[in-house]
């Protein structure tokens, strides 16, 4: 188990390096010059001289790889630099924005669990029944609808036409509901497809036939055998979704003017705030990668057989 985790951790570090290197490269090939953008925001009519000075001060005159190693070394020490926009330490900004994002992601996760489980179980048990067909149509909609579109529809429907919620709102429980649902619905839709398919697959397994032949009741076969065996892929998916939702919260946060890390990152990209961009990407990547690792560990604890098959490299 320990060996498995340490093997995985090495892989994860490689992923993190890859992601941050890519961010650096993309920031550099962008046509907007961050030094100039910064200068124009802070100095009225900056001279080319002033821009050059700033560039040196920010270390942007160095080759990209030296910038990267410098940044890498500093971030290992926990120093992600100073935001060009807010002038606060990047880490402090991220820490301030994180709770807002975590609150909608956490709420979305709650929706996912309470909606996915009963619907997929019912769909699978009554396969090809009316409920199954209705669920299929709705989930296909949910999967194919882009997040921002879904968000706007929700806003128009429940904040304008039927004004249950406010268009711009933050800081109370009610305000979380629409953005978290928007974040959750595509995930719920694809999870229902997967969970239903997994349950159906397990229903035809030998061990179900044998359980029937031993006279185990239908309810017990469903709950204790079929569902339990369908959970591991589901748990992996859920934990992966956690990372995916934190990474993907930017669009939903923009639509709902939600002051989380997603909209923070969007603002930073628009304002060419390189330290903030790099810092946010790093933090999001770490969360993403750790939630995947967590998914695997949980999976192993649920099913000792996986370790036998995959643990020995």
């Amino acid at each position: 188990m320990l060996r498995y985790i340490s093997n995985r951790l090495i892989g994860l570090i490689i992923v993190l390096i890859g992601v941050t290197v890519l961010t650096f490269i993309f920031s550099n090939i962008s046509t907007v010059d961050p030094a100039e953008a910064f200068a124009r925001r802070n100095i009225l009519n900056p001279t080319p001289m002033q821009i050059e000075e700033l560039r040196e001060e920010m270390g942007l005159n160095l080759p990209v790889y030296r910038q990267y190693f410098h940044w890498m070394g500093e971030s290992m020490k926990g120093n992600l630099g100073i935001s060009l926009l807010t002038k606060n330490p990047v880490s402090a900004d991220i820490a301030k924005k994180m709770p807002a994002t975590l609150s909608i992601v956490g709420m979305a996760f709650f929706w996912i669990v309470v909606i996915t489980l009963p619907i997929s179980i019912l769909s699978a048990v009554k396969q090809n029944g009316v409920f199954d067909h209705v669920a299929r149509v709705i989930t296909i909609f949910g999967i194919s609808m882009p997040n921002f579109w879904l968000g706007f529809i929700m806003l128009i429907a429940f904040a304008v036409v039927v004004p249950i919620f406010n268009v711009v709102d933050y800081g109370n429980f009610k305000s979380i509901i629409l953005p978290s649902l928007t974040l959750a619905i595509p995930v719920i839709s694809s999870s229902i497809r997967l969970f239903r398919a997994t349950i159906l697959l397990n229903m035809n397994k030998d061990f179900v036939t044998y359980a029937k032949a031993r006279g185990i009741s239908k309810t017990n076969i469903i709950w204790k055998h079929i569902l339990k065996n369908s959970l591991p892929p589901m748990i992996t998916l859920m934990c992966q979704n956690l990372g995916y939702m934190i990474a993907g919260s930017a669009i939903v946060e923009s639509v709902f003017s939600w002051p989380g890390i997603g909209s923070h990152l969007v603002e930073a990209i628009v304002g060419r705030d390189l330290p903030t961009i790099n810092g946010c990407v790093l933090v999001i990547a770490v969360i993403f990668v750790l939630s995947n690792l967590f998914a695997d560990v949980v999976n192993i604890m649920l099913n000792p057989k996986i370790l036998n098959e995959q643990g020995e490299f």
Binding site: F207, T209, H225
Partner: protein, 264 residues
């Protein structure tokens, strides 16, 4: 000789295109007798035995006919009633021991759940019953086995555990579908000996196989199936020394050839 199980005019068709797969199958299983069902691959042996135990998916197969067991037609029973019979009065030994057990549940728990499905016993009592039955199967370190997940045990061990579970609730009849096919020769003969011992307890058996060697070792009566029909039946002696159809003669010849090959 009185019959324990009487199958009358069993017909199985595919729901989607009404294609008949098992046609007008009728046979009896006598009390304390071992019936062998033999036939080539695809002849309908598995479907017949699963139909008897009501294990076929109703969405795929239509089953018609009668399966009389102790005065009841099993095919007419409610789901509840049939759950009470399966595993208690009629039990099954599956073909592939490696996939028959739930991979995520310890053996002990699967045994306990079987006992508790039929008897109002405590967990502890059910556990003790399981331990005793496993010991009777000449298995060592029984408490370790009870605490193991299926994938950590060998096929031969799992097969014996399955036989133990089949015997656990003192059934009237056990259906074994290719129960020895997946096993090596020595484990196979141990299992066949177990079948004989089961018979000595007065329990009937249906042994499904495509191997006349198995029939020769354990069966009293035989039915020969081909393309979903019974083409010949009789006692083992009759079938071996006086086969009526070419098909049975071919099967017997194939067996002799296989023997020659294995002795060569």
């Amino acid at each position: 000789m009185s019959n324990l199980l009487e199958i009358r005019e069993l017909n199985i068709t595919l729901v989607e295109n009404q294609r008949p797969i098992v046609k007008n199958v009728s046979f009896n299983v006598g009390k304390g007798r071992i019936l062998g069902i033999i036939g080539e691959s695809g002849s309908g042996k598995t479907l017949t035995s699963k139909a008897i135990m009501r294990l076929l998916n109703e969405k795929i197969f239509t089953v018609k006919g009668q399966v009389e067991f102790r005065g009841n037609n099993l095919l007419q029973m409610s789901e509840r009633e049939i759950e009470g019979v399966m595993g208690k009065d009629i039990s099954m030994i599956m073909q592939n021991p490696m996939t028959a057990f739930d991979p995520m549940m310890k053996i002990g728990k699967q045994i306990i759940e079987t006992v508790k499905a039929h008897l109002p016993l405590s967990k502890k009592q059910a556990y003790d019953m399981g331990v005793q039955q496993l010991k009777k199967m000449n298995l060592n370190r029984v408490s370790e086995i009870m605490n193991s997940y299926p994938h950590t045990l060998s096929g031969g061990m799992l097969q014996r555990i399955m036989i133990a579970i089949a015997l656990l609730l003192e059934p009237r009849i056990i259906i074994a579908d290719e129960a020895t096919t997946a096993l090596d020769v020595s484990t196979q003969s141990i299992i066949l000996d177990e079948f004989k011992k089961i018979q000595d307890k007065g329990i009937s058996l249906i042994v499904v196989t495509h191997d006349f060697g198995v029939i020769a070792k354990v069966a009293n009566d035989v039915i020969v199936m081909k393309d979903g029909e019974i083409i010949e039946d009789g006692t083992v002696h009759e079938i071996f020394y006086n086969p009526k159809t070419e098909y049975t003669k071919e099967l017997l010849k194939a067996r002799l050839l296989a023997d020659e090959v294995s002795y060569a």
